[in-house]
Subunit: 337 residues, 2 copies
DNA sequence: TTGTATGCGTTATCAA
DNA sequence: TTGATAACGCATACAA
């Protein structure tokens, strides 16, 4: 039972009384007599023959018709949506998507990449883990393998990359709070501080302060790497002697932490702007004002970059920036109390 | 520039002055003289040789060391987390994960499955689209290909499947509302009504009513396929002549819709229990009581099923049910007004 | 311990 | 239009 051999091209050929190559021609629209073609197709149906893509890939290009994608976390809707954007763009070209999640660990990321390379994927797309380094990919790059980094640029490798307008978006969000009268604005960011997105967004925060002639107060910058930690960070800010009247949250987890902390403390008087939109933002009290990213667009842009490279574009590495959008819903428009 | 040929086993062999087979033995821990092994490994490093998994897979098992997974939507954190659970379980066995999203469309699902089969994946894991049919997979099943369905069982094919305790969880959630005094409880479900999860959860709702001797009122059952539609469905329920004092939401989108609608209407007096947990549930006002699923466990259980099948388990198809858990946070404990 | 011959399923080349 | 032969990169079987 089970494990009966699948029909191969040769089986089909024998059934019809031709050569495997003829069957191959039929399946690849080569020059074949009409009558032969029909007999072959009939045999294909009869035997339930399905071409073996593995063998085909190996023979034809020595490249797998697949794209390898590494993301830090599949359950995070931001990265999930990014992956979705990649997948639909890539599938339109007959490529399939192989994914792995690095858990934000450089080691896991490396081993995933190694597996993908061993499979001879046609291209590599990576959301780099916080502390990863990509020098080891240099030889692949010079060998012509398309490599695109998403959300965060690569360390140690000049390669294409698609990121959100982190600094600009952050600046806009903080400026929005300033326009509404706030002078002391707390920043709740993720860790490590070395993370690209964190750095850029903090820089945008400082840009906005500078633009308004406000001082940068190191005491107003706090950190948390998950929702609970961000909630604690928020509480620390609120219990300062001279507490902020508004908060800027540096990513979706930080936003959640801030919102949770304020809700627990029963504080509805603290203005909040979060970076990255949340599904229930509208249902919060007050509704959450955010700087929305467009993760699907990030994925799609990166996929298009890859496709261009696969089409032979050998121009130098490019950085694409996907714009963000301020969505005012209420929490960001609260006045300082 | 670029596109220089990758070194193969033969290249390494030539470099050392041995046969490809010897290199193969070194890489697969076969019997090789210590000194030979070292010279081979040196050449591997020198040439930057990386074994070609494609070729290896083809030779060794005629099976790709990959699992094909089809989910309806990558951006949905429920399915993303399911995929994450699958991936980590599967990676531990040296298998990689190939994913595609069907957009809940049977046609796309079929073509994804066809691609995976053509790649000769080692197993197939599918969250079936609402209206899909899997009779066409029968020959694969008898041929011994492990196939496991997740979240929803398959139509037309007896195969392994891992689902949440939909009916039981739903019953528990509704019973919770009843215990808190509610007699008229609205149901906000997803469409189509034929969807397995919707059917089961509605059945659990009816079980709870029956258990309490409450009548089933068709007018209290509404439907919405996304957040906005669910919000409208909620409003329809609230504007009934004899409106419900509590709502049970049949999935995460329905929960969001209900929460958003109540928030817009400024109603904090309607009790709500949602099926599936939400990230910000705690920060809502009142905090949202939910019947939490465990998507990572669903993914992991399905992956383990697949691994058992790959290990030769030929027992008959099994259905695994992953328990749910009621998390009382406030919205489900409101009394009827 | 190592090599030779052969095959996996497909396509390229060249000839018929 | 079709076929014979070789090749892709690797592993198995057997021999040396």
């Amino acid at each position: 039972m089970g494990a009966m051999r699948r029909p191969t091209m040769t089986d089909v050929a024998r059934e019809v009384g031709v050569t495997a190559k003829t069957v191959s021609r039929v399946l690849n629209d080569g020059p074949v007599a009409v009558e032969t073609r029909e007999r072959v197709l009939a045999a294909v149906r009869k035997l339930g023959y399905q071409p073996n893509l593995m063998a085909r890939n190996m023979r034809v290009g020595a490249r797998d018709a697949a794209i390898g994608l590494v993301i830090p976390e599949m359950g995070n809707p931001f990265f999930g949506t990014v992956a979705g954007g990649v997948e639909s763009a890539v599938r339109a070209r007959g490529l399939t998507l192989i994914v792995g999640s690095s858990d934000e660990a450089a080691g896991l990321e490396q081993s995933l990449i190694a597996t993908f390379l061993a499979r001879r994927v046609s291209a590599l797309m990576v959301v780099p883990a916080a502390s990863s380094d990509h020098r080891h990919l240099r030889s692949e790059r010079v060998a012509g393998l398309p490599i695109v980094f998403l959300d965060r640029p690569s360390a140690g490798l000049r390669a294409d990359c698609v990121v959100s307008a982190n600094r600009e978006g952050s600046r806009t969000g903080v400026a929005h709070l300033i326009v509404h009268g706030h002078r002391r604005i707390g920043f709740v960011g993720d860790v490590p501080a070395s993370l690209y997105t964190r750095r850029e967004r903090l820089q945008g925060y400082r840009d906005a302060l500078d633009g308004a002639g406000l001082p940068y107060d190191r005491a107003l910058v706090e950190t948390g790497h998950d929702v609970e930690a961000a909630a604690r960070a928020t509480m620390r800010l609120l219990s300062l002697a001279d507490p902020p009247t508004a908060l800027f949250a540096g990513n979706n987890l930080a936003s959640m932490g801030a919102v949770v902390a304020l809700s627990r403390a029963g504080r509805k008087d603290v203005a909040v702007v979060g970076f990255d939109d949340l599904p229930l933002a509208e249902a919060l009290d007050p509704p959450l004002t955010v700087v929305a990213q467009d993760p699907a667009a990030v994925g799609a842009a990166a996929a298009e970059m890859v496709l261009r490279r696969l089409d032979g574009d050998r121009s130098r590495a490019r950085r694409t920036t996907v714009p963000t959008r301020l969505i005012a819903r209420g929490s960001g428009e609260l006045p300082p109390r």
